[in-house]
């Protein structure tokens, strides 16, 4: 029994090592041809054997950070509402409903994003551009609404349940005596939240945010529907773009040649390194509190 259990654990570790090996091995052609320049250059033209992932890395980071920026305050707000404000009845219905957002498959997010969200974003973007147009990020909108911005919004919805469920669980662990003590000193509810609840859970909440970031970085299908898989890098969020995962989903099934496939494995290697670093960071930040255990229990 012991041997069996240990064996299962060893398989888990070995699989992970093999993931990196397979990506590096199959990407070796691209790795030896393009080297580290792959990470900074931005031309991706498989038909002339030039591939570089600069644009893709940029798009991956921009969409993910936008999602984190939007989902963090929303998610923490939901966590606070569910743990401290909502009546018991509301809590036991709204909580599971928000978690349901995590159960919706990414293909449905992609589909919904393309048909419902993109037209909506198309209406929203000109308004944002006229108000915030002086910031280069909010430049001229594309005519369709298919944009980095739309991808960021889809990712926001996808990581919102992770951040909100984890922060709610964290807020519920704050001892009632501490909150009561602050209230007794005359603190308003917001002051209790800021001084006691957020102060004691800040590391856990940060870890939850990093986990959300990890999820956003690797999303392929949903992003591929709304980002446009463009080869050009625009400063404006309202223009199409591309991300690593999305490019692989789009082009892997019909590669131009072996080098093209190999370059996608190389891009995958870059992505997996980013994802693994994110996992390690989440664990390091969380410290004692096992955020991912409570995430796994919910099975996203």
């Amino acid at each position: 029994m012991f041997v069996l259990c240990l064996g299962a654990g060893v398989i888990v570790v070995a699989t992970l090592v093999d993931v990196v090996y397979q990506l590096a091995n199959n990407g070796s052609m691209a790795i030896s041809k393009f080297g580290f320049g792959f990470l900074v250059h931005s031309t991706w033209r498989p038909n002339v054997n030039i591939e570089a992932a600069g644009n893709l890395i940029y798009g991956t980071l921009v969409t993910s950070f936008m999602a984190v920026l939007l989902a963090t305050p929303l998610g923490i707000g939901i966590g606070l509402y569910l743990s401290m404000m909502a009546p018991r009845r509301v809590r036991s219905t709204v909580g599971p409903l928000v978690e349901m957002l995590a159960a919706v498959p990414s293909i449905i997010y992609g589909f919904w994003g393309l048909v419902v969200l993109v037209p909506f974003v198309d209406h929203l973007e000109p308004g944002l551009h006229s108000v915030l147009g002086f910031i280069p990020l909010f430049g001229t909108p594309s005519p369709t609404g298919i944009s980095v911005f739309a991808a960021g919004i889809v990712l926001t919805v996808m990581i919102l349940p992770i951040i909100s469920a984890l922060s709610r669980d964290l807020f519920l662990t704050v001892p009632q005596e501490l909150k009561d003590g602050a209230s007794a000193l005359g603190a308003t509810r917001w002051e209790v939240i800021r001084g006691v609840v957020l102060a004691t859970t800040v590391s856990g909440v940060s870890a939850a945010v990093v986990l959300g970031l990890g999820r956003a970085l690797g999303e392929a299908i949903a992003v591929s529907f709304v980002i446009g898989d463009s080869d050009h890098r625009h400063t404006s969020l309202f223009q199409p773009g591309a991300s690593i995962a999305e490019r692989i989903a789009n082009q892997f099934p019909g590669p131009v040649n072996g080098l093209h496939t190999s370059a996608m494995f190389y891009a995958g290697l870059v992505l997996v390194v980013i994802a693994m670093l994110t996992s390690i960071a989440a664990r390091a930040i969380a410290g004692r509190f096992d955020v991912q255990a409570s995430l796994g229990g919910r099975a996203a």
């Binding site: 029994m1 012991f2 064996g7 299962a8 654990g9 398989i11 888990v12 570790v13 699989t15 992970l16 993931v19 397979q22 990506l23 091995n25 199959n26 939901i78 606070l80 509402y81 709204v94 599971p96 928000v98 349901m100 957002l101 159960a103 919706v104 498959p105 990414s106 293909i107 449905i108 997010y109 589909f111 919904w112 919102l160 909100s164 308003t188 002051e191 939240i193 990890g214 999820r215 690797g218 995962a245 692989i248 989903a249 892997f252 099934p253 494995f265 992505l271 997996v272 994802a275 693994m276 996992s279 390690i280 664990r283 991912q292 255990a293 995430l295 796994g296 919910r298 099975a299 996203a300």
Partner: protein, 307 residues
């Protein structure tokens, strides 16, 4: 901070202890901020629920066009007719095959972490980190990995490759859920078994696993529901199949619901897009029902454990 504590004055200009206490100055500002935060938090919750409702209604509305009984019991006829029963059966087959691999591995890993590894075991720390990383692997990467591991050596995309890819997505979820519920099994049960002189493996099989079964089943249902909706790994590993027939041979291409949605959407036919929506609706209903089922199951097993 100035302490101009407002002394409440009555109409006569003298201190009136019966006048209502109204916050003013600094206290009023604090009360306003407090109120604002509560409103923002409530609005955030409303927004999240609204988004879920919009998604569910949107999918249901678009899906209704092509949805019928025939849609779930017939094979496709051409690109725009018939049903998706082959995709439903294919998804069922791939996911169950994947679960067959992931369940034992996941439960055994959970058992190792809780029952066999000591609290300071270095191997357990490495495994936990590996599980975290595995859970954090982008699903498209899982697809690439299995492509390199299975598809390239076999020279063929197959349902088998897809199933193994899905098992890698399920494994950390199942391991985590098992680990968590195993930690909840009361230590007194283990001690009682030890006191009776029962072997360790026997204790695990006859005492600990039965006690934890409810939580493990919940974790398994959630993991299966998650895997059933995954598109990216199947796109890479099981993307070439005959879309019009039912095929159960795992070592050839097997059709699946997510791939049906993904490919139908690409066709320049309104009927095909309608059918993609209908399939999305079927998939979503299945996954949300599985989640609700798991939740009910969890509630019942929690209640049982509390007794």
């Amino acid at each position: 901070m100035s302490t101009t504590a407002p002394i409440t004055l009555g109409e006569s200009g003298l201190f009136d202890p019966t006048a209502p206490l109204m916050p003013s100055g600094n206290l009023r500002r604090r009360a306003v901020v407090d109120r604002a935060v509560q409103v923002i938090a409530t609005v955030a919750a409303v927004v999240a629920v609204a988004v879920l409702v919009i998604i569910v209604i949107g999918v249901a509305k678009h899906g209704a066009e092509a949805l019928s009984l025939n849609f779930v019991i017939q094979n496709p006829q051409g690109l725009a007719g018939g049903g998706i029963v082959n995709a439903l059966l294919g998804t069922l087959e791939i996911v169950l095959a994947g679960a067959l691999v992931a369940l034992p591995l996941g439960i055994l890993t959970g058992l190792y972490l809780t029952e066999f590894a000591g609290p300071r075991s270095r191997s357990a720390r490495v495994m936990k980190l590996a599980l975290d990383m595995m859970a954090g692997l982008p699903t498209i990467i899982v697809g690439l990995f299995i492509y390199g591991l299975i598809v390239i050596p076999q020279h063929r995309e197959s349902g088998f490759a897809g199933a193994i890819a899905l098992s890698i997505i399920m494994l950390p979820l199942i391991a985590r859920a098992s680990q968590e519920v195993l930690l909840l099994v009361p230590g007194s049960l283990r001690e009682a078994a030890d006191a009776l002189g029962v072997n360790r493996w026997r204790t695990v099989l006859t005492v600990i696993l039965p006690a934890a079964m409810g939580g493990i089943v919940t974790g398994a249902i959630l993991a299966i529901a998650r895997a059933a909706g995954e598109t990216a790994p199947l796109l890479i590993c099981d993307g070439i199949y005959n879309p019009n027939t039912t095929s159960f041979n795992l070592f050839h291409g097997v059709s699946s619901v997510p791939m049906f949605i993904y490919t139908s959407y690409d066709l320049p036919l309104t009927q095909a897009v309608d059918r993609a929506w209908a399939a999305a609706f079927v998939l979503m209903v299945f996954i949300l029902l599985a989640n609700i089922l798991a939740r009910v199951f969890l509630g019942r097993s929690r209640a049982k454990m509390a007794r």
